[in-house]
């Protein structure tokens, strides 16, 4: 079923272009892979980064079956990763915000198993994985950062794999998004979601109407306020309780 590696999409993504914004000047400097590097390491790192052109909503950056060549760091926008199951149904695996790295799941088989599509007008930095691993051998700080990011990702997945109720899952997702937006310098209390309620339902393995029903319940309890795709968190303590998390 897997398509042959889509040379076209790889080319579009990593066309050689001089870096316009250096990592040292990037607003995501404190979040992204090279954050612990010294100025010399940073300059070295900048040489392996390929910045992409703007990616339109609905545009894919990886397709299931693509040969694994690169990972991608989200610079702006939002992505979702998904697979199509045996019944032809879309199963959303996760969402990626600026500063987060896409593609680690493809390392072991050297093939992308998930499709990754932009939900908003977005941009990414492409990183040849060979170059990253090569550099990580020389720069222990980079290696540590790679381990840290992968570990964080595994921890999030394990937390969401727990046997949680619909309310707990949704509260947990809101907490997670709130924390991730906050660490990117956005408001932790009010954010616009790029994903549709169908995407969220698929990701949390809940019925679409359950998402709306639970959010409406949170809203009438004064925990959140929803306006179309905008969420304002009014009572983050209660939300943390519901999510069974200590921090949001």
């Amino acid at each position: 079923m897997y398509r042959a590696m889509s040379a076209e999409s790889q080319k579009k993504l990593y066309f050689p272009e001089r870096l316009q914004v250096a990592c040292s000047q990037c607003t995501l400097g404190d979040l992204c892979l090279p954050r612990s590097l010294d100025p010399v390491g940073l300059e070295q790192f900048e040489h392996i980064v390929n910045k992409s052109r703007p990616i339109q909503p609905g545009e894919h950056i990886f397709r299931a079956g693509d040969k694994f060549v690169s990972i991608a760091a989200v610079r702006a926008g939002c992505f979702k990763s998904y697979v199509i199951d045996k019944n032809g149904e879309e199963q959303v695996l996760g969402f990626y915000l600026p500063g987060e790295i896409i593609g680690f799941d493809a390392i072991h088989e050297q093939i992308h198993r998930a499709n990754v599509v932009a939900l908003d007008t977005s941009s990414i930095c492409g990183l040849s994985f060979d170059s990253v691993s090569e550099m990580a051998r020389q720069l222990p700080q980079l290696q540590e950062e790679l381990f840290r990011v992968m570990s964080l990702h595994i921890a999030e997945l394990e937390a969401s794999a727990a046997d949680l109720s619909a309310e707990e899952r949704i509260a947990s997702l809101l907490c997670s998004l709130s924390r991730r937006f906050a660490s990117r310098g956005y408001s932790s209390k009010e954010f616009n979601l790029s994903m549709s309620r169908r995407d969220i339902a698929s990701n949390l393995r809940l019925a679409t109407e359950t998402i709306s029903r639970v959010l409406a319940r949170f809203q009438s309890a004064g925990i959140i306020k929803v306006n179309r795709k905008k969420v304002a968190i009014l009572d983050s303590d209660k939300l943390k309780d519901l999510a069974r998390r200590d921090t949001c």
């Binding site: 549709s196 309620r197 709306s212 959010l215 809203q219 929803v226 179309r228």
Partner: protein, 463 residues
Amino acid sequence: MGITTTFPSELITKYGLAGPRYTSYPTALQFHEGYDAEAYRRHVDSSNDDLIPKPLSLYVHLPFCKELCYYCACNKKVTRNTQRAVEYLQRLDKEIVMQGEMFDRDRQVIQLHFGGGTPTYYDDIQLRHIVDQLSANFLLSRSDSREFSIEIDPRTVDEDRVAQLADMGFNRVSMGIQDFDHAVQKAVNRVQDEEKTLRLIEASRESGFNSVSVDLIYGLPLQTPESFERTIDSVLSSRPNRLSVYNYAHLPHLFRAQRMISSEQVPIPEVRLQLLASTISKLVDAGYVYIGMDHFALPDDELAIAMDNGTLQRNFQGYSTCRETDLVGMGVSAIGKVGNSFVQNLKDIRAWEAAIDEGGLPVWRGLGMSGEDRLRRAVISAIMCQGFVRFAEFERKYGIDFNDHFALELESLKPLEQDGLIELSEGTIEVTSTGLLLLRVIAMKFDEYLINDLQGKSYSKVI
């Protein structure tokens, strides 16, 4: 906001200029064909994607009438050929399927309205078929709080039919009366029996309709203050929950049917004012609350309660208490509102039918609201529904400096303040009891399109 005790005849004469009713802002005059079926689909998709999608409101337009009422300015088709109406129904079935497929199935329909024309032109079997078709393609709410209403022409309905309509799931009825005076009825070609109409109101209550609304019209040919008072007294004896008292706008150059009315028989402006003044005082004396525009309600009616607690809404049917819905309009010329956009179906029956036969949505035109449109729509809605505008609310929500953004508008309100229609203070506009009778005049000051094009001569007179 109580109704004024002294009737401001002079002001009404002074401000009796053209003006829209603001059942929507921007008004339908701004709709354009650049908004097509594709644009509508995009807005529907995006409304489905909302985290908590709005519940739905359905409007079904049934345009046929057996006879022509000469005052009518609605989009209708007068025919005694019932086969014609059957052909229409076949297309309506298809439109309901197409529309139903676009909206996520978990979106409850909490409001449903059959309007016309004369919905009861169709017999019970046909009407039940439409309800069944809607039910098969949308998720109709089963809650008692749902508002499923139908316009009834008392000439086409008997007690048994009323019971049938209740059984189909309708729980609100709006009855066209206009005027009980026989001479007036003859002059407008709508003769209906007073006794029978009052019996139908009684029968509606017995059948379980929890709200009866009655439409009256003042300014019809041959009406006198005395004759209309008698009609009002008779209507009040049945104590309808709501009353709409519309003004007849005599515009024979725009509406062909009105050419059947001789202009000399239409009451002169002074008489119109008397008709309006005595109607208002009679209804208020009888305990009705003036909601705004043409609408009155008993104090325990949801409209009156919503007016008190500030949750009143304005929509294409006038005023409503529903939380905000997305409105799906079906049938010829029907208007919908989805997300931040308005959409209208083709208004010619043949064209509407042809579009459906080709398998497409019968969209004629529409409008996607800009940020500025939404801001002004909210201000106009506050004037029409709440009777006050608090600047701070709009500054917070829309990120504007109200005094700065609306400097010209606020300046243009000053004459209205001098005439006592509004009170302007630091950060608020308050509609006075006098202003309540002239809501359109106040709202018009915030209508950007009207400001840009101060010619709207074709609007009906404000009063």
